[in-house]
Amino acid sequence: MSRFRWLVLALLGSGWSLSSFAAGSIEGEIEQQALNPTAIVMFMVFVALTLGITWQAAKSTTSSAAFYNAGGKITGLQNGAAIAGDFMSAASFLGITGLIFVGGFDGLILSLGAFGAWPLLMFLFAKRVRNLGSFTFVDVVSKRLARGPIRIVASIGTIAVVVMYLIAQMVGAGKLIQLLFGLPYTAAVIIVSALVLAYVAFGGMLATTWVQIIKAMLLLGGVTLIAILVLAETGFSFGELLSMATAKHPKGDAILSPGVVFKDPIQIATIQVSMLFGTLGLPHILMRLFTVPDMRQAKLSAFYASVFMGYFYIVLLVLGFGTIALLYGNPDFFDADGKIIGGTNMAAIHIATAVGGDILTGFMSAVSFATILAVVAGLTVSGAAAVSHDLYAQVIKQGEPDPTMELRITRIAVFVIGVVAVLLGIAFENENVAFIAVMPMVTAASVTFPILFLSLFWSGLTTRGAIVGALTGFLSSLTLIIIGPQVWVSVMGNPEPLFPYNYPALFTMPLAFFVIWLVSVSDQSERGQQDRANYHDLLVRSEFGTDE
């Protein structure tokens, strides 16, 4: 029982799984492992392959348009795989498996939360966003609202989300690679940044897309193989696997039902709202809708992404309960104090060792590293586009930039983001970044999503309403996170939080919607009238395309 109590306390005390999963980072208890040559060789093969693709992609990345959206030539199937590759982070794989290892069924709330956004992406955004925008979601909202102010606000929102996501990713990358490869933290952060710079600066969105596709296929292939090997241990009976798991886990049958880790349905709802609407507001995910040639391919992208991710999260069910059935009670995976070696993050890697030996362990470690590269590459493209397209080309140059200068600024932005990512990664190495990992999802749900949704579905939206609502969403998110458990207790050391939930989007998103509505309906300005009048034209173009 003491082993189990330690695991739960470690998990809950660090706020690890929930917050880290939000932005796809890994944090919490990390122990540098011995150098893993198999993993390093396999990772080098991945790097060689993706750099070769980047070299090819660089030949066609000669304009800003090619950089931002790969020339719009990606098919729906390819884009669906790339979206899956962009979103299925190392923390999805390691974090959810680790949470199931500790708490059984409760870990599935993260799987459903991560999967739930994709159908809505198809119903609400895929076609309309694709039809109205060119390179970023900011193009869409600025179609009917005052171009300058809304672009500045939405671009700052994009950059804020990207930077916070990057910090979580870089700190997570450093710790994960320390854990899996036995490399020092700083070296890991620099390697990630240097590789991403090479992919993105030279190959733009095309290289990023292929890195994400290859990573998605490797990850799906890896988890499938582990699941087959796990089921082979139980005569391919899922029921037998569950029986073995309940027999081994200290909580017994309780792990098959809710309540081991989470007790409060409101807490569950806060996670669901943040993950669903946060995902729909992530700029680097929305940007992928512009890489396909037409609206049909945009819809298919969302569908294929759903298929890949639905499959992934169902397979994680087998992996998660497999870790319980095959790791508990096996002294090879626990230290003298009864702690799982390397922390709960390692449960997914240990199960690979248990069923596939060193080769499969090395493969999954290499895939986890590749996963981080794919996510950071997507973030970097999105951040660079916010600077060079949204701010430089559309605001400073009023939509008439010098193409050569725009491409140059794009590449400079990529370089700056890469350097900033390394510096922030090193600066935050020993900080509690749990709250920073929560911020991107909550900010995206409370700032980006309301503006984008209302600009597409409500005729009454005005520029003033959108700006005031966005600021309200951002400030309320920041405030509630500061007075919540992640900062008030974990960082500032207070005994009790002033606000009880880690994910405040359940409260901040409705507040942002209310403020947008209130300010918009009371806005009698000339600009407000124009914003409302623009809606019907935008609505028609959103369904019929911009060529009408």
Partner: protein, 80 residues
Amino acid sequence: MVDPRLDYVRVKTRRRLVFSAIHLLLYFSFALNWSELGKGLGRQLGEGPMTGSMLMFVILVLLFLAIECIFLLFDRDGAK
């Protein structure tokens, strides 16, 4: 003069919102597992170890995919 295409777009908008509402209803129903109302879901099904809660997870994932397929079928006419 009112654009005649607006009626068509409004029908499509209603369809989008109906599908979204169904999806959200199903999605948030999963939280019932942690409430008194959904306590029965945690019980084991028959003789096997599988619980109603676990079955609900798998069914929801498959149902979401099925709803997307239905939406694609409805939306097959494109914007013409």
